[in-house]
Amino acid sequence: MAKSSTEVAIEGLKRLLSDKEGLDDVAAVKIEKLTAELQEQDHEEEFDPVRRIKDGFIHFKTHHFDKCPAYYKKLAEEQHPKFLVFACSDSRVSPSYVLNFKPGEAFMCRNIANMVPAFNQLRYSGVGAVIEYAVKHLEVENILVIGHSRCGGIKALMSLPADGTTSNDFIDDWVKIGLPAKAKVESEWSHATFEEKCEHCEKESVDLSLVNLLSYPYVRAALANKALKLMGGYYDFVNGTFGLWKADFDIKPEIIIGSS
């Protein structure tokens, strides 16, 4: 095999050192410096996104897709997820990972601060479409809204100035969906630190989203038929815990006044 350019260069250096005396110490220092520089360069190898995506898919294909052909063939025909999950877009909280959902188990909506706004065809058609499809068409049995620790969106909500001014194009306007949760936290935990208030708000906002789900007629109808359950969740990645609670909504007939 032909010698590499580095092999040729090293041979030339060795030849020089054997021909000329007194260069060893100087040469050793220079060579050690070069080695250290090259080691650093090696660590800063450029990230290749195409390579990352290719490797990722190949990993999935070999370890999962090709190993369970019957499972994936069935899924390709139809999906019957039992869950609709709302989770934050945060890269650390994917429910597929954190709750070990397999393909086919959970229909998912991910947005900033896992918010469910109330029914609004003008402003919130994205979330509306997800709920409409999941509840009416896929007939999911459970809706789970998951909040999480250190949520940037909730922090932005808690940082909104009281005068209502916004400092960005979209973020402030979106997180304002959670204002009722913020108001509750400010009133009930007025003496808590900012971080503590954020944590309370992360959970209160989940409860607010669960209430907002009721503004969708298909959710109400499914609840009334006892075909749907609503749950709130909280993933704390600082302490490695997951809190889960159910939300029960019921309308019971009491009395009708005025008829004899």
Partner: protein, 256 residues
């Protein structure tokens, strides 16, 4: 995933039985017992709470507790290199199909993985996610991933020509990618409805990529070459994944 560890466990058991003699009768009886127990479990009503509890317990023991250094770092901050748009479809989570680990990809999931154009009234949800990812997290790549048998795209392709809709939200939402439908209906009129849907799944990704450029912070980052835009299509019928890049550039003004 459960299906894989089952296969591995069965393989291990078969290996043991082939190596050690005299276990067959006992093993056969026990395997029949397990099968009967599992059959019974399979017919019990689904317990959602149990499913979530066991799912988290699995993650905690197999991942979280095994990588304390990683999760300590992640708890402080996230620095994902990707922002990913994927469909809400339960079969196409990028954590599965691209093996994204915690911290790698900021994710938006909605019907038919759509990116609507800049609109502070109608589309603040997507706008907020893009704004946060590009300006605050400074992601280096945005990938929009379409997929086979997409119900949202099928819905788009099924809207009658006179534009009447029968849903509260779905049809209004998927019409974000109406230009994709028009293109497909014009250029692929000879194809079957299913083939047209497949083409539309990919064209809609291109419409979404174009819509990304309506956000000034996206345009700026793309021109500065700190952000790359990519489109993709996951075909779960054939088990393949296509990836393409979307280039956008501004040339210096021509001399007068």
């Amino acid at each position: 995933m459960a299906t894989d560890s089952c296969e591995d466990a069965i393989a291990e058991l078969q290996k043991l039985l082939s190596e050690k003699c005299g276990l067959e009768t006992l093993a056969a009886a026990k395997i029949k017992q397990i099968t009967a127990e599992l059959e019974k479990t399979g017919s019990e009503p689904f317990d959602a709470v149990e499913r979530i509890k066991s799912g988290f317990a699995r993650f905690k023991t197999e991942k979280y507790e095994k990588n304390p250094a990683l999760y300590d770092e992640l708890a402080k901050r996230q620095s994902p290199k990707f922002m990913v748009f994927a469909c809400s479809d339960s079969r196409v989570c990028p954590s599965h199909i691209l093996d994204f680990q915690p911290g790698e990809a900021f994710m938006v999931r909605n019907i038919a993985n759509m990116v609507p154009p800049y609109d502070q009234t109608k589309y603040s949800g997507v706008g907020a996610a893009i704004e946060y990812a590009v300006l605050h997290l400074k992601v280096e790549n945005i990938v929009v991933i379409g997929h086979s048998c997409c119900g949202g795209i099928k819905g788009l392709m099924s809207i009658p020509d006179d534009g009447t809709t029968a849903s509260d939200f779905i049809e209004q939402w998927v019409q974000i990618c109406l230009p994709a439908k028009s293109k497909v209906k014009t250029e692929n009129s000879g194809l079957t409805f299913q083939e047209q849907c497949t083409n539309c799944e990919k064209e809609a990704v291109n419409v979404s990529l174009g819509n990304l450029l309506t956000y000034p912070f996206v345009r700026e980052a793309v021109v500065k070459k700190t952000l790359a835009l990519k489109g993709a299509h996951y075909d779960f019928v054939n088990g393949s994944f296509e990836l393409w890049s979307f280039d956008y550039n501004l040339c210096p003004p021509l001399p007068a």
